[in-house]
C-alpha cells in the first residue's frame, strides 16, 4: 500500500487535489449527518423495555420485542435453507468443476444475473411461488425462503473464496495418499475453508436483516409475537417503513428502531471484516 504513495504532487495541480479531498470530505460528511440524525433522535428512546415489549397503538408506543423475534426467525429460516445449497454449490464450482465446463459456466452466469435481480422482483417471485403456489401465505417461512434465494450469490461467492485460499498442496497430497474425494473434502478442505464460509454467512445475515422490499409481500406486516413459522411477522426494516409511512406520530419509535437496526448491522459488518482480515488473508497453518 505504502508503495503506491510514491507519487508526488505536481506544481499546478491544486484543483485536482482539492477535488479529491472534497469528494472524500463530502462522503464522510453525509455519512456523519445520517448517523448523527439517527443516533441523536433514537438514543433516548432505547431501553430494556423497548427491546422486549410488544408495540402498542400501531407502533406509536410500546416496544419492538415481537419484531426482533420475527427478524431473528426470518434470518434463521433464510440461513437454514441457503447454507446447504450455497455450500454445496461453492464446493462443486470450486473443487469439482473444470473452469471451462458448460454446466459450471451456466451456473455462474445464472448466479451473476441472480445477484443483479432487484429486491422487489424477489418479492414478486416469493409472493407468487411461496405465498400463492405453495400455499404458505404471508408467513415467516415464505419470507425466509425468498431471502434465501436472494443471499445465495453472496454466500456462494464468499465460500468459493474460502476454498480458493486452501493451498493446492493439500489436494495433491491427499490424492497421493489415496484418500477418496469425499474424505478429502470432509477432513481436509472443509475445515480449511470454514473461514470463508463464516464470512459469507455473516455477510448474508447482514444483507438479510437490511432487506425490506423482499419481505413486504412475503412475510407481511403483523407485529404480534409469532407463534409458529407459518405466522406472519414484521422485521425491523418493515417496522421502520410502516411507522414512517403509514403511522402518523410513529417517528420517535421509527428513529429508535433505526438505531437498533444500524447498530446491529455495524456489529455484523465489523465482525465480518475483522474475520475476513484475520482468517482469509493469512495462511491456515493448523487443520
Amino acid at each position: 500500500m505504502a508503495d503506491t504513495r510514491i507519487l508526488t504532487p505536481g506544481r499546478s495541480e491544486w484543483f485536482s487535489t482539492l477535488a479529491v479531498w472534497s469528494a472524500a470530505a463530502l462522503v464522510t460528511g453525509f455519512f456523519l449527518w445520517v448517523l448523527w440524525d439517527i443516533v441523536s433522535h433514537g438514543f433516548s428512546q432505547i431501553s430494556w423495555s423497548f427491546l422486549t415489549t410488544e408495540s402498542e397503538k400501531a407502533g406509536r408506543a410500546g416496544g419492538i420485542g415481537p419484531v426482533l423475534v420475527s427478524t431473528l426467525l426470518v434470518v434463521l429460516v433464510c440461513l437454514a435453507v441457503s447454507l446447504p445449497i450455497g455450500l454445496a454449490t461453492a464446493v462443486l464450482l470450486s473443487e469439482y468443476t473444470p473452469e471451462d465446463s458448460l454446466f459450471g459456466r451456466l451456473v455462474r452466469r445464472s448466479l451473476d444475473v441472480l445477484s443483479g435481480v432487484p429486491s422487489i422482483v424477489f418479492g414478486l417471485f416469493g409472493n407468487a411461488l411461496f405465498c400463492k403456489a405453495l400455499g404458505m401465505g404471508f408467513s415467516i417461512l415464505s419470507g425466509g425462503l425468498t431471502l434465501a434465494c436472494m443471499v445465495l450469490p453472496l454466500l456462494i461467492r464468499a465460500t468459493e473464496e474460502g476454498f480458493r485460499s486452501v493451498p493446492l498442496d493439500y489436494r495433491t497430497s491427499a490424492a497421493a495418499l489415496g484418500m477418496s474425494r469425499s474424505s478429502t473434502l470432509f477432513h481436509l478442505l472443509l475445515p480449511a475453508a470454514t473461514p470463508g464460509l463464516v464470512v459469507g454467512l455473516v455477510l448474508s445475515i447482514g444483507r438479510a436483516i437490511a432487506e425490506t422490499a423482499v419481505l413486504i409481500f412475503t412475510s407481511g406486516y403483523v407485529s404480534r409475537w409469532p407463534e409458529s413459522l407459518m405466522d406472519s411477522g414484521r422485521t425491523l426494516s418493515i417496522h421502520i417503513y410502516d411507522l414512517s409511512m403509514n403511522v402518523s406520530g410513529g417517528n420517535a419509535n421509527a428513529y429508535a428502531t433505526s438505531l437498533v437496526l444500524v447498530v446491529l448491522l455495524l456489529v455484523i459488518n465489523m465482525t465480518s471484516s475483522w474475520m475476513a482480515e484475520r482468517w482469509l488473508h493469512r495462511r491456515i497453518v493448523l487443520l
Binding site: A88, T89, A213
Partner: protein
C-alpha cells in the same frame, strides 16, 4: 483419484444442490411470465408502452383501464441517469483518495467507513430522507418529495458500490506502472489520469454497471422520498414514481389484471438488469456477483 461409491453419491448430491441454485433465476423468470400471462392475453404487451396513463384498476367513472408504464420507466431512467452521473466521479475520487492522497491511517478508516455505508439498509436512508431531506427541499421549492430527493438518496446509496469497486480495481494496477510514471517525471494527477485510469478501466466500468443496477433496483428509499405521483417530471422538483416503487405501493391490494400488470413491470425491470449484465460481460469482466 479413487472412485468409491461415496464419491459418486457426494458428487451427485452436490450437482443436485448446484442445479437448484442455478435454477432460481429460471424459476423467477418463469413465475413472472406465468403471472403476467393473463393481462398480456387480455391487453397485449404494446399497450404497456403506448397507454398514456396508469389506471390498472377500474375507476369510478367506469372508463377502461389503462396500463401505461411509460411515466414510471421515465422516472426510473431519469433518476438512475442523474444519480449515476454524480455518484461515479465522487466514488472514483473516493477510491483515488484512499490509494494516492490520504495518509495510510486515514485511508484505512475511510475504507472502513465506505464499507459501513454500503451496509446501511435502504429503509434507514429512506427514513433519513423523509425526516431531513424532504423538509429541506420543501423549504427551497415545495412540495419537497421530488425527483431531486430521490436522486440525492440514490447518490448516497450507490457511492459505496462504485467506490469499493474502483478501490479494488485501483489496487490491481501493477506497481511497476506507477514507478515507471514516477521515473518519467509524471506528476501525481497526471499519473492517475493517464496511467492509473486507463489501466483500471475495465474494473471501473464494472463498477458503473453495478451501481446502475442498484439505482434501477432500489425500492424502499426512493419510494419514501419521491412523492410517487405517476407523471413525467417537468422539473427536478416534481414528484416522480419509479417502476420499483409502483410495484411496492400497489402489490398489497392489487387483484386480477392489476396484479398481473405489476408482474409485467417486474419483467420490465428484469429485462433492464439482464441488458446491463450483458453489457458488463461485453465490456469484458467475467464474474461480477457478490
Amino acid at each position: 483419484m479413487s472412485r468409491s461409491r461415496n464419491d459418486a453419491i457426494l458428487i451427485w448430491t452436490l450437482r443436485v444442490f448446484t442445479a437448484i441454485a442455478g435454477a432460481i433465476v429460471l424459476l423467477i423468470v418463469g413465475f413472472l411470465i406465468v403471472e403476467s400471462i393473463p393481462v398480456l392475453k387480455s391487453v397485449g404487451l404494446s399497450r404497456f408502452f403506448t397507454d398514456p396513463s396508469w389506471h390498472p384498476a377500474r375507476n369510478i367513472s367506469n372508463s377502461d383501464e389503462t396500463y401505461g408504464l411509460a411515466p414510471m420507466i421515465t422516472g426510473t431512467l431519469i433518476s438512475m441517469a442523474l444519480s449515476v452521473l454524480v455518484a461515479t466521479p465522487l466514488g472514483v475520487l473516493s477510491a483515488v483518495f484512499c490509494h494516492y492522497y490520504a495518509p495510510p491511517t486515514i485511508a484505512r478508516y475511510y475504507r472502513r467507513l465506505i464499507e459501513v455505508l454500503a451496509g446501511i439498509p435502504s429503509v434507514v436512508y429512506g427514513f433519513w430522507g423523509l425526516m431531513v431531506l424532504v423538509p429541506a427541499i420543501g423549504r427551497i421549492h415545495p412540495p419537497g418529495p421530488s425527483l431531486l430527493a430521490a436522486v440525492i438518496i440514490l447518490i448516497i446509496m450507490i457511492i459505496p458500490t462504485i467506490a469499493l469497486m474502483a478501490d479494488s480495481s485501483l489496487a490491481n494496477v501493477p506497481p511497476a506502472y506507477l514507478r515507471g510514471a514516477v521515473a518519467l517525471g509524471l506528476s501525481r494527477w497526471g499519473t492517475i489520469r493517464h496511467v492509473v485510469f486507463p489501466a483500471a478501466k475495465s474494473g471501473l466500468f464494472t463498477g458503473v454497471i453495478l451501481e446502475t443496477g442498484r439505482a434501477i433496483g432500489e425500492t424502499m428509499a426512493v419510494l419514501m422520498v419521491a412523492g410517487n405521483m405517476v407523471q413525467t417530471p417537468k422539473s427536478i422538483f416534481d414528484p416522480i414514481r419509479t417502476l420499483t416503487a409502483n410495484v411496492a405501493l400497489e402489490m398489497a391490494y392489487a387483484m386480477g389484471d392489476h396484479r398481473s400488470a405489476l408482474f409485467v413491470s417486474g419483467l420490465v425491470l428484469l429485462a433492464m438488469i439482464v441488458a446491463l449484465v450483458s453489457a458488463a460481460e461485453w465490456i469484458g469482466k467475467g464474474r461480477i456477483y457478490g
